[in-house]
Each structure stands twice: as structure tokens, then as C-alpha cells.
């Protein structure tokens, strides 16, 4: 049954790109709301098409062997497009009222396309280009916040990203220079049993992806970025690019060129990065007062969990993909709720302590944040549990039990800071009489709705597999 032809795999990206063009033209001609809505609509259509084409489980090569598509790759793309669309809708009230609104929406959508290409690239050159598109869109999204601190964060992000790009290009040069190929299939054949130059290239490529993921020791940009960027954009930046980068790593490492058969050190290197990220991210997050900064550090730890799955090898591919999706949904939900809180309390200073009294004032938002952080902790009944469970199972089944133990200890530590968010929200407000906010911003309902949608997604994703079997988790993710 060939219900999905390779042609259709092009449709989502094309729809989004057309949407961006129409949206930006519309904005330029003074119809900003319409433009942003067009971009968001393009993303949601793309998500629907991707989701439909994910039902066809065969993975087919399209466009001259440069790209994989279909199956789980489309499933991941579906999630990425949904997150991008929600991110734009979440920031609706700000986007429609500021000059940069259309640009932010366009960059988010462009980045989403880049992520799809990155996740499914089957050629090192394509991967590097996609990585750059995502990275550059990321720098711009951070600086689009427009505060001095966000400019500084964007600058630092950009400089460090530039260094990482240098690594990537060098790695690409080494591999291409020695073997003369950039396509994965040709490289696999050419590298054979491995060589020192190939190992050198591997280290450089791994470093580049570790930077993109924000894994230790290339993590220092993450907290600043997520603290200073608008929560709606941060919700996208914290979630979707990690799906793309983790997927690309899976294709490169356990599945492809750098598999452990040829490079016995690769597993150890990834396992070390994973463990270090889990430990440093969790310990770093414990000391944070700002919600965004805390989520930035915790994102480092979460990437560590994803890398545990990568380290688990071929058996961990689906687990890692599921983890990437479940983490992305949970993290995005946390940021989208933060955005809705910002809309509700315009003078919120972004600290965790500043959330006090939220439960009494806006019970649904407090519940949404609770659900999001419990999911990030990995509590059962939330979607985040399944990702962690599968990743740990993958690690245990290849005798990396120590890595799983590091992971669960990290999860316990993580409740220290995730729980403090809950504690703060359900505490009485610090200043009495502060209870009445200055009224919602125009268009604030949208942020609230997105937060609600994200919360429901986390709960359904968490309870669904209990009722319908774990297979529902894999439905969109067959590789």
C-alpha cells in the first residue's frame, strides 16, 4: 500500500515557505495580523500533512538521496510544525502589537522547516546547511525580544554558535577531503572499518551537535537565551530544535556513519556527555531564581536524557525520538504557560517566587504549569514519563544501567526545582492586595488557550498509553 508518495513529503515545507512569503508581504502592506495568521495557518496545515504522511511507515529517500522522509521523520516534523504554530499563537498579543511580530513568526516558521530538513537529512552537507538555518533563525529570534539583555544573550549565542559552525565545517572538510563523499550511504561504504581521520571528523561533528543541543560542555549559552527570550519564542527554541538535532545525531551515530561497530569510543563519548549534562544541568537548575533560566538549565539536563538514548545505540532510536517529542511537548507547555502568565500579570519579573499566588488567581494556568513541570520531572500520568521510561529501558537493555541510575537520580534532583515552581504557585501571594492584575492585554485569550491546549496534550499523552497501550506513543514514530 503506497498511499503516500515521496512527492507529498515536500508539501509541508513548501506550504510553510509559501505561508511565510504571503505573511511577510501582508505585513509589509500593513496587515500584520493577517500575515501572522497566514504563517500560523501554513504551519498547522503542514503539521496535518506531515501527520498524515507519517501513517505510511516506509521511509523513502527523496530528492536525489539527500533527504529521508516519511514514517517517523514525518511524525517528528508534524510535532515540530505544531510547536512552531503554537509558539506563534502563544505570542499573538505581543506579535500583533509590535513591529517585529511578522518577522518573529516568519523566523519561527523558517526554523521549523530547517528542523525538518535537519532531522531527515541523509547527507552531511544538507545537515550542516539545515543546522545553520536553524541556528541563524535562533540568534534572530533571541535578539527579536528587543531588550538589552536579550541582545547580549543573542550576541553570546551567536559567537559561540559561530565557533560550533567552525567545528562543523572542519569536520565536514575532513570527511569530505579524505573520502570524497558527503552522502551518508557513500560515506558508510567509504569509511569501512574506520580510521583516525574519520574519528577526528566524528569528534568535530559531535561537538557541533552538542552545541546545538546545549549539552555539556557546550551549554553555557542556554540559560541566558531562555531567560531573556520572550517565553512564546523560548517555548519553540527550547523544544523543536532539540528534536531535529537529536534525530540527526541518531541518524549519524547509532544508525549510520559513526556506529559503535566502527567507532567503539563513540558510545562512551556520548554516554559521558549525557551523564555530565544530566548532572550539571540539574545541579545548575537548583540554584536558579528565574523561571526561564531554570528551564534553560533543566533543558541541559533533559538533553542529557536524550543522549542516554543515543548512547544506547540502535535499540534506543525509537526511544530517543519518543523522548525528544515528549520533552519538547512538556518544555513548550511550560513556556507557553509562562507566556500566558506574562499576559495576565504584565509586571511579573520572571522569577519563580513571582509566581506566588497564581493558583488562587488563575487556577487553570497554575494547573497547566504543574502538569508541565511534573511531566518534565518524569512523573507517571504525564507525557514526560514515557520518554524517560523508554530511554532508561534502552540504556538498561544494553547494560548501561549506571547511566539509567544517573538519569533517575537526576530526575529526583530535578523535583527540587520543578517542585519549587509548584510550591511557589500554591503559596499565598507575597504582597497582599497584589491580587488584582491590571487586566489582560488585548488578545490575551490566545496565550491562555495555547497554554490550555499544551496542558491537555501533556495529560493525554501521559494517560493515553496507559489506556490504549504503549503503541500509541510509537504511532507517528516508526523508522
Amino acid at each position: 500500500m503506497q498511499a503516500v508518495t515521496p512527492t507529498i513529503l515536500w508539501v509541508p515545507g513548501a506550504v510553510v515557505l509559501v505561508g511565510i512569503v504571503i505573511g511577510l508581504v501582508a505585513e509589509a502592506s500593513g496587515r500584520r495580523s493577517f500575515g501572522i495568521a497566514t504563517i500560523a495557518a501554513g504551519l498547522l496545515v503542514a503539521a496535518a500533512v506531515s501527520g498524515w504522511s507519517a501513517l505510511e511507515t516506509t521511509v523513502s529517500l527523496v530528492f536525489g538521496g539527500l533527504l529521508l522522509g516519511g514514517g517517523g521523520f514525518s511524525g517528528l516534523a508534524c510535532v515540530v510544525y505544531v510547536l512552531a504554530g503554537l509558539s506563534i499563537l502563544s505570542g499573538w498579543s505581543r506579535a500583533t502589537s509590535t513591529q517585529r511580530g511578522g518577522t518573529v513568526a516568519g523566523l519561527t516558521a523558517l526554523s521549523a522547516v530547517g528542523i525538518q530538513v535537519l532531522a531527515s537529512s541523509f547527507d552531511l552537507l544538507t545537515a550542516v546547511l539545515a543546522l545553520e538555518i536553524v541556528a541563524i533563525a535562533g540568534y534572530a529570534l533571541v535578539s527579536a525580544t528587543g531588550s538589552r539583555r536579550s541582545d547580549e544573550a543573542a550576541m553570546r549565542y551567536f559567537v559561540q554558535g559561530g565557533t560550533a559552525t567552525g567545528f562543523t565545517v572542519l569536520g565536514l572538510a575532513v570527511l569530505y577531503g579524505v573520502y570524497g563523499y558527503s552522502g551518508y550511504t557513500e560515506l558508510v561504504a567509504a569509511i569501512g572499518t574506520g580510521s583516525q581521520s574519520a574519528a577526528f571528523g566524528m569528534v568535530l561533528v559531535l561537538a557541533a551537535f552538542a552545541f546545538k543541543l546545549g549539552a555539556v560542555p557546550f551549554h553555557s549559552w542556554a540559560p541566558d537565551v531562555f531567560e531573556t527570550t520572550d517565553a512564546s519564542s523560548a517555548g519553540f527554541l527550547a523544544s523543536a530544535p532539540k528534536i531535529g538535532a537529536l534525530m540527526a545525531l541518531l541518524v549519524l551515530f547509532p544508525g549510520g556513519i559513526f556506529n559503535e561497530g566502527r567507532f567503539p569510543g563513540a558510545t562512551l563519548a556520548i554516554a559521558t556527555i549525557a551523564a555530565a549534562s544530566v548532572v550539571l544541568g540539574n545541579v545548575g537548575a537548583l540554584r536558579q531564581r528565574s523561571l526561564g533560566r531554570m528551564l534553560g538549565y533543566s533543558g541541559i539536563a533533559q538533553v542529557g536524557y536524550g543522549l542516554i538514548g543515543v548512547a544506547a545505540g540502535v535499540g534506543g532510536i525509537t526511544a530517543t525520538a519518543v523522548f525528544a517529542v515528549t520533552y519538547a511537548v512538556g518544555a513548550a507547555a511550560a513556556f507557553f504557560v509562562a507566556e500566558a502568565v506574562r499576559v495576565r500579570r504584565p509586571d511579573w519579573d520572571g522569577t519563580i517566587a513571582g509566581l506566588s499566588g497564581l493558583a488562587a488567581e488563575a487556577p487553570v494556568l497554575a494547573a497547566g504549569m504543574t502538569v508541565a513541570v511534573l511531566s518534565l520531572t518524569g512523573m507517571p500520568l504525564m507525557i514526560g514519563f514515557w520518554g524517560k521510561l523508554l530511554v532508561f529501558s534502552a540504556a538498561v537493555s544494553v547494560n548501561l544501567t549506571w547511566l539509567a541510575v544517573v538519569g533517575v537520580i537526576g530526575s529526583v534532583i530535578s523535583f527540587g526545582y520543578y517542585g519549587s515552581v509548584i510550591r511557589s504557585m500554591y503559596a499565598a501571594p507575597q504582597e497582599a492586595g497584589e491580587g488584582s492584575p491590571g487586566g489582560e492585554l488585548a488578545g490575551g485569550r490566545m496565550a491562555f488557550t495555547v497554554a490550555l491546549v499544551a496542558m491537555i496534550a501533556v495529560i493525554i499523552g501521559g494517560t493515553g498509553p496507559v489506556i490504549a497501550g504503549v503503541d500509541v506513543l510509537f504511532r507517528l514514530l516508526t523508522f
Binding site: 512523573m379 507517571p380 500520568l381 539509567a404 529526583v412 500554591y426
Partner: protein, 481 residues
């Protein structure tokens, strides 16, 4: 289908109460009382139909996929007593929180959700479902303590969560390890044993989570704080039911899956149990806070449970279940009484009380009864289980069991100390005019008394229910009887 009802009814009830929050406090509590009552009836129905079926396991499962079918519930002799206990205490918990005015709908929804989660722990047939339910218990309990608790509620709730989550996270690694190494995942009605080289690892990973919940002595420090700060209904559920999850998990998961490791660990468990009996009693004796005293007595009672279990004989394991059920009733009663007293006096300080038998005769009388049940007076529910624990312990461990005798004496000491200081002695002038237990509270107390006496006179009702399972477990450990 009957096996599903004790989980589904409170869960559905919790959702209805939560979303029908507009009906006000009165509506919410009446609705929850009906739900909890129906749940209790459903557990009794399950017990009777299980008994009528000659003790055959009753199971229920739903579709899912061939690969992993999570939603499987089953009941056997080991879970029946605990399910009925949970049904009873779930109803009591709703009735004791009749006076909760602050966000009553949310409070009751959480109580019912908690009950559903605990039921799912006791009824889960799939090991992953067991874990999910086990963790799901934490969430409502965390909120019950941290929102409706006393002065230091937030710190206590946090400590409770972190301690138990740390244990259960390690338990998760154990569960994953055994899921990876054995193909079978059914908990009720036979499960493949983990291969010998992995048993020790799996057992101790599981035990890390289970022993925190019991709790055993070095890991018990979350318990007094959580108990003292929890609202009365939370304390009743925590002591009455949640602590049983640890013992149940040891018998349901750890023992059958890793019998060799369990046998090897038995002396350690016995020592931990013995330490719990003595140390818990010593700590209880030193308390000025009445609720804290009752909380520490739980540590001692759970020590008896662990000691009984570690003997590995059929009778010993049966005694462990008996101790669990009895402690659920006795500690539930005591926490209810302390809560009722606190509602009237807003203090729990033992030295401020005295002569309460004269001032509030019904409360005083029931309190004396509860203390006597707690110290193990023959004829009441505490006696048979703890006696069997000591006897079987003596058979298995010989004179090493002697220090437990000290614990028994100390147990009598702290209970009588509490009775003397609170119920008897010089009546304190401070509480001349506090009201005695009302009709609703008398009904609660009476039902506790009924069950405690009933179980004390007829402990066979639990022992015979569990017999089929305990015999299999003892056989797995290589014991004859």
C-alpha cells in the same frame, strides 16, 4: 469487571467533584461521601465474589496491543484484605474532612483521586501499571499536605515527595531491569523469576523504593513530618493505606521475582524490622506532640510487619498482612481521634492535655481503646499479627529475636504514657468546655471499634484469605509451610 470498579468509581468521582466544583463545599462533600461509600461497597462486593469463586483470581484487561498491554487488573488473596481496607479508610477519610471549608471540592477530588491510585496499586497486574499507580499516589498526597496541612506543610510535603520519589526512581530502574530480563510481566498469578545473577541487583533496587514507603528506620524521617503536617484525612490515608504499599510491594513484586535475593536479604530485613520496633517505640516515648507519637508508633508497627515477612514462612507472611490491616485500622482510628482533638483545641501538645476522659468521655474512651489496640491487647486486632510475628521470628531466627521483646515492652510504655498523660490524670482547666464527639464522629469511631474488635476476635478472616498466596510465596522461598 468487579475488579475494575474500586479504581474507576473513585477516579470518576474525583473528576466529577473537581469539575462540579461550583456546587459548593456541602455538595462536594456529600457527593464524595456517596462516591466513597459506593467504592467501599464495591470493594466488599469484590471480596465476596472473590470468596464465592473459591479464591480464584479475578482479572480484567483491556485491548492495548500485543506488545505492551498495560491496563490489567487482578485480585487475589494478598490484595483482597488491603483493597477492603482502602475502601473503608477512603470512606473514613471523606467523612473526617467534613469540616474542610477551604477549596472543599479540590480537597475531596484529591482524596478520591488518591483512593483510586492506591486501589490501582493493590489491583495492578502489570508491573508498569503498578509503578504508574505507585507514583500517581504521590501527586494527590503532595497537594493534600502542602495545601491543606498545618504550619510547616510545604516543607513537609516537599520532603515527603523527594524521599519517596528518590526511592521509587531507583525502583523504576529495578522494574526496567526485570522487564528487560524476563518476558513475563504479570504480577498476579505467577511471574517468571529473574535470572540468578540479576536477582540481587533487582531486589535491592526494588527494595530501595519499597523500604522508603514502609518505612524502615534509616529511611523513615519523612514520615513524622508528613504525618504531623498532613490534614487528618491525609494522615488517615497515609498511615492507613500508603504505608501498606511498601509491604504489599515487597510481597507482590520483590519476593516472587527475586526469591533467592529475598532469602539472602531476610536477615537484613529482620534486623531492619527489629530496629524499627525498638527505635520507633523509643522515639514515640519521647514525643510531646500527640500526632508525632502516633506517627512514630507506625514505624514500630511496620517493624513487626517487616519482621514477620522476613521469616519467609507462610504463617509469617500471613502475619505480615494481618499486621498491615490491623495497623491500618488502629492508626486510622488514632489519627482520626488526634485530628478531632486538634479541631477542638488547636494544639497537639501532650503536656497541655490531661483528664480528658472526664471532660470528653466518648473521645477519651475511644482513645483508651485505640491505645490498647495499638499496644496489642489480646482480643483486639493488633494482638494476633504481632504475636505471630514474634513467634515465627523466634522459629526462624531463634534468640536473636530477643531485643524485639524490649520493643514490645516499650510499645506498651508509650501507649500507656499517652493514655495517662492525655486521657487520665489531672483534668486540665484549659479544656473544660470542649464538645465531645458528635454523631458523625461517633459513627466513625464506632465503625473503627467494630472492625478492630472483629479482626481481633477473628483474625482468620485475613489469614485464610491470604493463605493460598502466602503458601506459594513461602514455597518460592524454599520453605515447606
Amino acid at each position: 469487571m468487579g475488579v475494575l470498579l474500586p479504581v474507576v468509581i473513585p477516579l470518576a468521582g474525583a473528576l466529577v467533584v473537581a469539575f462540579a466544583g461550583r456546587v459548593g463545599a456541602g455538595g462536594a462533600r456529600r457527593l464524595s461521601a456517596v462516591v466513597a461509600g459506593v467504592t467501599f461497597i464495591a470493594t466488599l462486593y469484590l471480596a465476596f465474589s472473590w470468596n464465592a469463586g473459591g479464591g480464584e483470581n479475578i482479572a480484567w484487561a483491556i485491548g492495548g496491543s500485543q506488545r505492551v498491554m498495560l491496563l490489567r487488573f487482578a485480585v487475589d488473596g494478598l490484595s483482597v484484605p488491603l483493597v477492603v481496607l482502602t475502601g473503608f479508610l477512603g470512606l473514613i477519610a471523606v467523612l473526617t474532612s467534613w469540616e474542610v471549608r477551604d477549596h472543599a471540592a479540590a480537597h475531596h477530588a484529591l482524596l478520591l483521586g488518591l483512593e483510586a491510585a492506591v486501589m490501582a496499586v493493590f489491583l495492578a497486574d502489570h508491573i508498569l501499571l503498578f509503578y504508574i499507580a505507585w507514583e500517581a499516589v504521590l501527586i494527590p498526597m503532595f497537594f493534600l499536605i502542602s495545601v491543606w496541612g498545618h504550619e510547616n506543610r510545604r516543607a513537609a510535603a516537599f520532603k515527603f515527595f523527594i524521599y519517596t520519589f528518590a526511592g521509587s526512581a531507583l525502583m523504576l530502574v529495578g522494574i526496567i531491569t526485570l522487564m528487560v530480563s524476563t518476558p513475563m510481566d504479570s504480577l498476579v498469578g505467577g511471574m517468571a523469576v529473574v535470572s540468578a545473577d540479576k536477582q540481587t541487583l533487582v531486589f535491592w533496587l526494588l527494595a530501595a523504593g519499597l523500604l522508603v514507603k514502609v518505612p524502615v528506620v534509616p529511611l523513615h524521617t519523612w514520615l513524622p513530618d508528613a504525618h504531623v503536617e498532613a490534614p487528618t484525612a491525609g494522615s488517615v490515608m497515609l498511615a492507613g493505606v500508603l504505608l501498606k504499599m511498601g509491604g504489599y510491594g515487597l510481597l507482590r513484586v520483590a519476593l516472587p521475582l527475586a526469591p533467592d535475593a529475598f532469602r539472602a536479604a531476610a536477615p537484613v530485613l529482620a534486623i531492619l524490622g527489629g530496629i524499627g520496633i525498638v527505635y520507633g517505640a523509643v522515639l514515640a516515648l519521647g514525643q510531646r506532640d500527640l500526632k508525632r507519637l502516633v506517627a512514630y508508633s507506625s514505624v514500630a508497627h511496620m517493624g513487626f510487619m517487616l519482621l514477620a515477612m522476613s521469616t519467609g514462612t507462610a504463617l509469617g507472611i500471613g502475619a505480615a498482612v494481618l499486621v498491615m490491616v490491623s495497623h491500618g485500622l488502629v492508626s486510622g482510628l488514632l489519627f482520626f481521634l488526634v485530628g478531632a482533638l486538634y479541631d477542638r483545641t488547636h494544639t497537639r501538645e501532650i503536656p497541655r492535655f490531661g483528664g480528658l476522659v472526664a471532660q470528653v468521655p466518648v473521645w477519651g474512651g475511644v482513645f483508651v481503646f485505640g491505645a490498647l489496640a495499638s499496644l496489642g491487647l489480646p482480643g483486639l486486632s493488633g494482638f494476633p499479627g504481632e504475636l505471630l510475628a514474634v513467634l515465627e521470628g523466634f522459629r526462624s531466627f531463634g534468640w536473636w529475636i530477643a531485643p524485639v521483646g524490649l520493643g514490645v515492652v516499650l510499645g506498651a510504655a508509650y501507649n500507656l504514657y499517652a493514655v495517662r498523660a492525655v486521657a487520665h490524670g489531672e483534668p486540665s482547666v484549659e479544656w473544660q468546655s470542649i464538645p465531645d464527639l458528635g454523631m458523625r464522629e461517633r459513627a466513625i469511631a464506632a465503625s473503627f471499634v467494630l472492625f478492630i474488635v472483629g479482626l481481633g476476635v477473628w483474625p482468620g478472616v485475613v489469614l485464610s484469605a491470604t493463605e493460598s498466596v502466602t503458601r506459594i510465596l513461602a514455597m518460592a522461598l524454599g520453605g515447606g509451610q
